[in-house]
């Protein structure tokens, strides 16, 4: 029951009558362990048999100061028409120096990415399918197919990470589920990457 720092508690309780010895603690720098400051999309081209070819390339969204103070910088994603890619999402907290990808993987049953924006819904130019280890639908790993002849060359990739959702909610197996909010939970990430098709 005694959660108080014993030293302060005693100083305040016993010497309180003097109204002098009871002082607040010195402040401590607190690292924001919860925040995701860097989100990296890593693409690797796949050949027709689904094997990786060529070197992976990355696009990044970052917000080094966390939620309250920073201004995020988001890179433009450039992909080639008609090609398929392996897409990995890498999450990092640069404030606490922590890899968040592993934490999300550990809590696979509580997390899921959804892929929306003009790139994925309406007349989609990208087709996404989950391909996570263990078969759980998370979105840390997946494949993206770029349309052979897309209706437009510029689009938005809106990537949403939901936490504590009901993964069995009807429709939630769809990576482009627009009513993701219906499945409950809250948003940990909501980033819109500009997409350019070449």
């Amino acid at each position: 029951m005694m959660r108080f720092k014993n030293r302060t508690f005693l100083a305040c309780a016993l010497f309180g009558l003097a109204l002098a010895s009871c002082k607040s603690e010195d402040p401590v720098i607190e690292n924001d362990e919860e925040v995701i400051t860097d989100v990296t999309l890593r693409f690797t081209e796949l050949n027709s048999s689904g094997t990786s070819v060529g070197d992976p390339f990355e696009f990044k969204a970052s917000d080094p100061q966390g939620i309250e103070l920073g201004t995020p910088t988001i890179e433009s994603v450039t992909l080639s028409k008609g090609k398929s890619y392996k897409m990995e999402i890498i999450l990092f907290n640069s404030i606490a120096g922590e890899d968040i990808t592993a934490e999300v993987q550990e809590e696979a049953d509580e997390h899921q990415f959804f892929f929306l924006g003009t790139a994925f819904v309406g007349s989609p130019v990208l087709t996404y399918s989950y391909n996570d280890q263990g078969g759980e639908l998370i979105g840390l790993n997946g494949t993206v197919m770029v349309s052979q002849s897309p209706g437009f060359n510029n689009a938005n990739m809106r990537i949403i990470l939901r936490h504590d959702l009901d993964k069995n909610y009807p429709g939630a197996t769809n990576p482009n589920f627009e009513n993701f909010a219906q499945a409950g939970g809250e948003t940990d990430l909501d980033i819109t990457f500009p997409l350019v098709l070449e």
Partner: protein, 734 residues
């Protein structure tokens, strides 16, 4: 002790002419100007049996001597119908005690006080409710736990008062500005939570309360025991403990996920009193774990908009007692030492020291191991010292003057993994005051003056840089009040008082994300103290069948501090958030409370009570958010059984009418919910088993399981309010 000594100060009352007299030092009294006829006479003197006599007046002069018979002052077993207020003031005061408090047992402080007209709640779901007096709450009102000002983290909208109403034998609400008597912040009013006086001789009394409720499947037990010593005269003690457990609350159409609570409290006191000296030690411990509706914890503005559009939580996890994150774990220790010494017949010296330790931990839904760490972990220590002299002189003057010191240390407990919302700080407040009252016959006039000085020093890290601030605030406050007994049935009182409230640390330094509101809140270190002047008038009519109380008030506040939406949004990788800032503007609050009852017959009684509040930002000419809408509660009570019996046996049907808040602020996340009407049913019965008393209560709240949303509930954005609730309340006194 029979003798022929004259009695001074006995009250003599002539019923027909409604005139009276008080006997002088020789025991004589004169009643003049009566016409011939029959008169009923009543004579009362404390500690003596009341005399009732009828006499026929024929001649111009009539003399008669009455002998008063002494009566033991042991009041046990006597039904007390009269009631002495916990505080002697000329401002509007209402108290909850006896049967009314019995009906409220098991409810939290805010809910209990809703029974008083003019008092509403500002709540966060069904388990967190803060009392609102005349539209003001949190740091603008004060709560006294057995005489000590409760110092928790009251600044937060979702921070409920850390107090167990079971400690109280009586809860009193003062509706005036009482800064002079109680210190800064008592701007809207004061709530006094007072235990029963300690016994001074051997007379063991035990009270057991058991409450069960269908909604939330809650159970509540409280046991108290009081006794005095037969060896040492004047020595007495009281111990009390209570426990509460509740699961998910049910709205008419669904369960609200993670809305359970568990609570464990105890208190004890030991006292000694003699003719000259009184000394009392008191300790209370309050500990609660409160589940917070899962869906109210939103990730960003989109989440918030989505759930508001949905009108109800997305999840319906069914019933469980389990409490998961988000949740609050709060504990509060309060220890006090109080003493008084009668310097003479008319002068009394008082000393009171209080120590409080408050720990508030708030857990959010986080990732992995972080779930076990609180996101907010605050430790607050408060010392209060009061030293004052009371006098009650032989002539018409009485009053008190004294000094008061409050010292506070607030620390963020490291290890949360979240940048703290408010800095660590130390605060010292010193006050000096004097209050004097003049009473003569039906008139009382009272006035008071106080000076306070407060210093606050804060420290925190912003982007790895130590940032400190030293602030100071000084203020004079004053009040004047009067009470006039117009006739035996009509009393009028009027009180004009100034009050002040230095800005709170959160208002000065907040800089962080508020998950429930998807908002970034930004403080302003340059805020001034709020200063107010409140005028309260009350008229009370106490007839044989009719009882009526009307309170009207006006409160002007200079530099009222409020959280204003800037209209800007903040974009991050997590999504978008609204930005709010603390601003100041002049405010004007005014309104009326009323409470009336009428006896239709000796079995049927009707009552009505209600309140109207208007609050405006007079600079911007717009409305403040979260001001209670117009409301009224009316009902009929039917008495069963023998008419002469003093034991309660009644059925009450009541109807609560709440209007839509049409005076909305320019910006709100969702429009004010529609008006609603609720019906409640209650049956209260008292039985005697030998010398013991058994009180049984059965209540049905929200009889028709109506779906509704209350404007003053912050969770109206996310969910309907509570559905039907059937409660069984058992109290055994022996």
């Amino acid at each position: 002790m029979e003798n022929n000594d004259p009695i001074e100060g006995a009250y003599i009352w002539i019923v027909e002419s409604a005139t009276g007299a008080v006997s002088d030092e020789n025991g004589n009294f004169i009643v003049k100007n009566l016409c011939a006829g029959n008169y009923s006479l009543t004579i009362q003197y404390l500690g003596h049996k009341e005399i009732k006599d009828t006499l026929t007046l024929n001649s111009n002069n009539f003399n008669k001597t009455y002998r008063l018979e002494e009566e033991s002052l042991d009041l046990s077993g006597v039904e007390i119908h009269g009631h002495k207020l916990a505080v002697q003031t000329t401002t509007a005061v209402t108290a909850l005690y006896g049967d009314a408090l019995l009906e409220a047992r098991g409810e939290n402080l805010g809910e209990s006080l809703k029974r008083i007209s003019g008092v509403t709640t500002f709540s966060t779901g069904n388990s967190i409710s803060k009392p609102v007096i005349h539209g003001m709450h949190s740091n603008r009102i004060m709560i006294l736990n057995n005489g000590i000002r409760l110092e928790g983290q009251q600044w937060g909208a979702e921070h409920a008062p850390e107090i167990d109403p079971f400690v109280a034998d009586e809860i009193t609400v003062i509706k005036g500005a009482e800064t002079v008597r109680y210190g800064p912040e008592a701007m809207g009013g004061v709530i006094l939570v007072n235990p029963a006086p300690l016994p001074t001789k051997k007379n063991p009394k035990t009270n057991i309360y058991l409450t069960g409720a269908s909604n939330g499947r809650s159970g509540n037990i409280s046991v108290s025991h009081a006794n005095g010593s037969d060896k040492i005269k004047g020595l007495g003690y009281q111990v009390q403990a209570s426990a509460k457990r509740a699961g998910n609350i049910h709205s008419p159409d669904y369960y609200q996920g993670n809305t359970g609570l568990s609570e464990l409290n105890f208190s004890g006191s030991l006292g000694y009193s003699s003719t000259k000296l009184g000394i009392e030690g008191y300790y209370s411990y309050f500990n609660t774990t409160l589940g917070i509706l899962r869906d109210s914890h939103t990730g960003n503005l989109d989440d918030l908009i989505n759930i508001i559009k949905n009108g109800r939580p997305f999840s319906d996890p069914g019933f469980t007692y389990e409490i998961i994150n988000p949740k609050q774990v709060v504990s509060h220790h309060l220890a006090k030492l109080k003493s008084h010494y009668h310097l003479s017949d008319s002068w009394k010296l008082n000393f009171q020291y209080g120590f409080q330790a408050n720990n508030r931990q708030e857990f959010d839904k986080r990732r992995g191991d972080l779930n076990a760490k609180p996101s907010l972990d605050l430790e607050l220590f408060t010392n209060t010292l009061d030293l004052f002299v009371d006098h009650s002189l032989k002539n018409e003057w009485s009053g008190s003057f004294g000094i008061n010191a409050i010292q506070q240390a607030n620390s963020n407990v490291p290890g949360t993994g979240v940048t703290p919302l408010i800095p660590n700080y130390d605060m010292l407040n010193l006050g000096i005051y004097a209050i004097e009252k003049y009473s003569k016959g039906p008139l009382e006039v009272e006035g008071g003056l106080r000076f306070d000085t407060r210093s606050v020093s804060t420290a925190r890290y912003v982007q790895s840089e130590l940032q400190t601030a030293d602030l100071s605030y000084n203020n004079f406050s004053a009040f004047i009040g009067t009470l006039y007994q117009v006739s035996p049935k009509i009393t009028f009182n009027s009180n004009l008082g100034t009050a002040w409230r230095p800005p709170n640390v959160n208002e000065l330094f907040s800089e962080g994300l508020h998950h429930g509101a998807a908002a970034v809140e930004i403080g302003d270190a340059d805020l001034n103290s709020e200063k107010s002047i409140k005028w309260v008038n009350e008229i009370e009519y106490d007839g044989t069948k009719t009882h009526l109380e009307i309170t009207g008030y006006a409160n002007h506040i200079k530099d009222y501090i409020y959280l204003n939406p800037t209209g800007d949004t903040f974009v991050s990788l997590r999504g978008t958030f609204n930005v709010y800032e603390y601003l100041q503007a002049n405010a004007f609050f005014y309104g009326v409370d009323f409470s009336a009852s009428y006896e239709f017959s000796n079995r049927l009684n009707g009552y009505a009570k209600g309140s109207i509040i208007r609050a405006k930002n007079t600079e911007e000419d717009n409305y403040f958010p979260f001001i209670p809408s117009d409301r009224m509660d009316w009902g009929l009570a039917f008495k069963f059984g023998s008419l002469t019996s003093t034991k309660t046996n009644k059925l009450t049907l009541s109807n609560m009418l709440v209007a839509r808040q049409k005076r909305e602020p320019d910006f709100d996340l969702a429009p004010a919910p529609p008006a609603y009407a609720l019906f409640n049913l209650g049956y209260q019965r008292q039985l005697e088993i030998g010398k013991d008393k058994l009180n049984l209560g059965l209540q049905v709240q929200n009889l028709f399981n109506t779906s509704y949303k209350e404007y003053m509930n912050r969770f109206r954005y996310f969910t309907d309010d509570m559905g039907r609730n059937i409660l069984l309340k058992i109290n055994y006194q022996f």
